[in-house]
């Protein structure tokens, strides 16, 4: 058991390109993969690496996140000493809007919490990504190199603005590049970092004095300018950052590739934990037809589904046909509806005979609780 590590997950203002998906929630609690919320992947990675104490710095619109995390019991984090700590955005004395401009501002709002962390090292990341990252191995790199900070990086690139690290011959990066999206030199930073606690406090003091809010642009750039070095752990399996509806849809559809699915949910590997709910198994009716789909428990399927992701408690009535759709929990698809490339949020009703046709590049999003 690794008790020298403390987890901090921060949530920032949701990207506007996530549209309806963040109408009622922060991006950290967007449902993904049939039974998860995005934050489950960060939390599970930490718990799987033996982290026993995790602080979650919450942005505004955190009601759904509170409902999901509760006391942390489903991640094994309901503990008398330590465990899950939920940190609302109103910890500062000055009036606060509940929005953070950047990671350093979020950390500053809980600086007394961070100063009290007993562990020597901290895993720091956002909650807007999907993946099954073995942080235990990243910690090994961090310990072996004795670095102040270790970054989880991947080959390739993001379609969105991101940071890149270019390691030197000794495997340590001394340069940080900003990319608007697309390929570039070096490695793509997953923005998951392991840092020494005292080093993080130094970065926070610097940013506080300068009234800087950003982790990469301000804190890391300052550190590297002063001769700092970043150790690198490469994760080249399935991992995706979700910053837009398009990212969300693409990342979901990739789960139908057996290789991607096995990397995210390895049969005998690290489990992704989520909130449990009392649920029955899924029932397929006499006329049901299913192919290439991912289906959670509690569904009742009498229609046809092809390349679909069904969350817990979804109902698909007779004669309904769904193709390339993502249907979130407790949404009902009534008889003879035809849906193609649709993302239906929680608790929607798609009434009898409705036809909704989106495309791969422009999926239709039905907001939470809508009757169509």
């Amino acid at each position: 058991m690794r008790n020298d590590l403390h987890g901090i997950i921060y949530t920032l203002s949701s990207e506007p390109a996530l549209r309806e998906l963040v109408e009622h929630r922060n991006s950290a609690s967007i449902p993904f993969g049939g039974r998860y919320r995005l934050i489950d992947f960060a939390l599970s990675a930490m718990v799987n690496a033996g982290v026993r104490d995790v602080g979650v710095i919450m942005e505004r619109d955190y009601q759904s996140l509170l409902d999901h995390l509760s006391n942390g019991a489903d991640w094994g984090l309901a503990r008398r000493t330590g465990g899950l700590r939920l940190l609302p955005p109103f910890g500062l004395r000055e009036a606060h809007s509940g929005n953070f401009n950047g990671c350093m501002e979020a950390l500053r709002s809980v600086s007394s919490y961070i100063r009290d962390i007993p562990q020597e090292n901290i895993v720091l990341c956002a909650a807007d990504w999907v993946g099954n990252i073995d942080l235990g191995k990243a910690v090994d790199v961090h310990m072996r190199t004795g670095a102040d900070i270790t970054a989880v990086c991947s080959e390739g690139y993001g379609p969105f603005p991101h940071h890149r690290l270019v390691p030197d011959g000794d495997g340590l990066a001394r340069k940080l590049l900003f990319s608007e999206g697309g390929p570039g030199p070096g490695l793509f930073s997953r923005e998951i970092y392991i840092l020494k606690r005292d080093f993080l406090l130094e970065l926070m003091d610097y940013c506080s004095d300068m009234v800087h809010d950003h982790f990469h642009r301000d804190a890391l750039a300052h550190y590297l300018a002063g001769g700092g070095k970043i150790a690198v752990y490469e994760h080249n399996q399935y991992a995706r950052r979700i910053t837009s509806v398009r990212d969300y849809y693409d990342a979901s559809m990739e789960l139908f590739q057996p290789k991607m699915l096995a990397e995210l949910f390895p049969a005998d590997g690290l489990p992704i934990r989520t909130k449990e709910r009392a649920e029955v198994s899924t029932y397929y009716g006499e006329q049901a037809k299913v192919s290439g789909s991912l289906v959670a428990d509690g569904c009742y399927i009498e229609g046809q589904i092809e390349n679909c992701i069904l969350f817990r408690g979804v109902r698909v009535a007779k004669g309904a046909r769904l193709k390339n759709c993502i249907i979130m929990q407790d949404t009902a698809i009534q008889a003879d509806a035809r849906l193609s490339s649709v993302i239906a949020d929680k608790d929607c009703v798609i009434t009898q005979g409705t036809v909704l046709t989106g495309t791969d590049t422009l999926p239709i999003v039905v907001p939470k609780g809508t009757t169509v």
């Binding site: 039974r35 699915l261 489990p271 029932y283 299913v290 289906v295």
Partner: protein, 398 residues
């Protein structure tokens, strides 16, 4: 810590008529209906009825059951002043300890446990029945009728009655006579093995019964008849709804098939959830070649073959080209490509290899029955498991 009513769940029996399936685990731990294990039903009924203290009496092969129960948290039974308590037989100072010699003896040996909770009433439950029941309604009737004991009864066919404990009631509804498995039943009201006792009456009856060297220390054979002959009021609580004893291979298979018919028992009803401890697994995968009809599938399954009229527990794999029909597949069972499973029960982690056949359709003969493979058994490539077979060990094609 005064409680109005606590439950004592009898979970110590071997379930010997399930043969290989209970060779290594107690019957209440047997997987059922995809998501569940048998004990989930009485435990969830307790939680939903507002009973927060459940003593679980274990004796036969309890290790897996103990681990499954844990703190009782999955059934919302981990409250500060309640909870699930596993009660095994124990040793006492200065004297030799005893195994539980009968259902009544199991409760007798735990009188201290009950006294600490100081309840007015004690609910006695079995760990081998599938049903949804509001025990608080039964308790209300027990109090209204001023009974020493209330027995839940269900109407069965007259031809079936000889398999049950039968209650004969007077015109006022009170029990006048009780017969265990009568050859010529006088009534069709069968005992469901669910009792509510006024604790002071039961406590004395247990002490008296324990002093009788000829008693088999059993509720049906001793305690109930003794209370009757002592002139105590016994009330029959009539239960209408789905209830099945799953003590045999045929009844276990039948009851699993019933789960495919929500009109018999609605497990989707969110006002009466049946709760379970589930392994952490992703949603099930239906592959491009999957054909799943009139079946139950659970998280962690990977299905790329055809599955008709069957119940799949978590982590079951049905490979491309495999065929499963009218069967119950317990957690971790694997059916490889080209294998066929018909009218069968596959225990946990059974592997049916390529081209093997397990079971057949009913052929009208007396020797036909559901084929059963015990846990961890491998049915080798091309091997055949005959209908009605009970497989304890690996099988290789001859």
């Amino acid at each position: 810590m005064k409680k109005e009513c606590i439950a004592m769940l009898l979970a110590g029996g071997q379930g010997s008529r399930l043969y290989a399936l209970t060779a290594n685990v107690a019957k209440p731990h047997i997987p059922f209906g995809g998501k569940y294990r048998i004990i989930d039903f009485p435990l969830s009924n307790c939680a939903n009825s507002g009973i927060d203290t459940v003593g679980v009496l274990t004796q036969y092969r309890p290790m897996k059951l103990n681990a499954y129960l844990g703190t009782g948290q999955p059934w919302d039974l981990s409250a500060d002043d309640g909870g699930v308590f596993v009660l095994p037989p124990y040793m006492s100072a200065g004297e030799k300890g005893n195994w539980f010699s009968g259902t009544a003896n199991a409760i007798y040996q735990n009188i201290d446990f009950i006294d600490v909770r100081d309840p007015e009433y004690v609910l006695i439950l079995s760990g081998d029945h599938i049903y949804k029941m509001d025990y608080s309604d039964m308790l209300r009737e027990h109090k209204e009728k001023g009974a020493a004991c209330t027995i839940a009864v269900i109407q069965v066919g007259m031809d079936e009655a000889k398999r049950f404990g039968i209650m004969n009631c007077g015109e006022d509804g009170y029990v006048v006579d009780f017969e265990e498995k009568p050859a010529h039943p006088k009534s069709d009201l069968a005992s469901m093995g669910i009792y509510i006792f006024t604790w002071s009456k039961l406590r004395q009856a247990l002490i008296d019964d324990n002093a009788d060297p000829n008693s088999s220390q059993d509720f049906g054979k001793n305690i109930i008849p003794n209370l009757l002959s002592a002139g105590e009021k016994l009330w029959a609580y009539r239960f209408k709804g789905y209830w099945r004893d799953v003590g045999t291979i045929t009844s276990l298979w039948d009851a699993n098939m019933d789960m495919l018919s929500p009109e018999l028992i609605d497990l989707y009803d969110s006002s009466w959830p049946i709760m379970s401890r589930s392994p952490i697994r992703p949603p099930h995968v239906a592959g491009p070649e999957a054909d799943i009809r009139h079946s139950i599938v659970t998280e962690g399954c990977v299905v790329d073959g055809s599955v008709f009229n069957s119940v799949l527990s978590n982590q079951v794999v049905v490979e491309k080209g495999a065929h499963v029909e009218y069967s119950v597949l317990m957690p971790g069972a694997v059916v490889e490509a080209g294998a066929e499973v018909r009218f069968a029960i596959l225990g946990e982690n059974v592997r049916v290899c390529k081209g093997a056949h397990v079971g057949t359709e009913p052929d009208g003969t007396d020797s036909w029955g559901v084929a059963t493979c015990g846990p961890d058994v491998t049915v080798g490539p091309g091997a055949q498991v005959a209908p009605g077979a009970m497989l304890y060990d690996d099988l290789v094609a001859t």
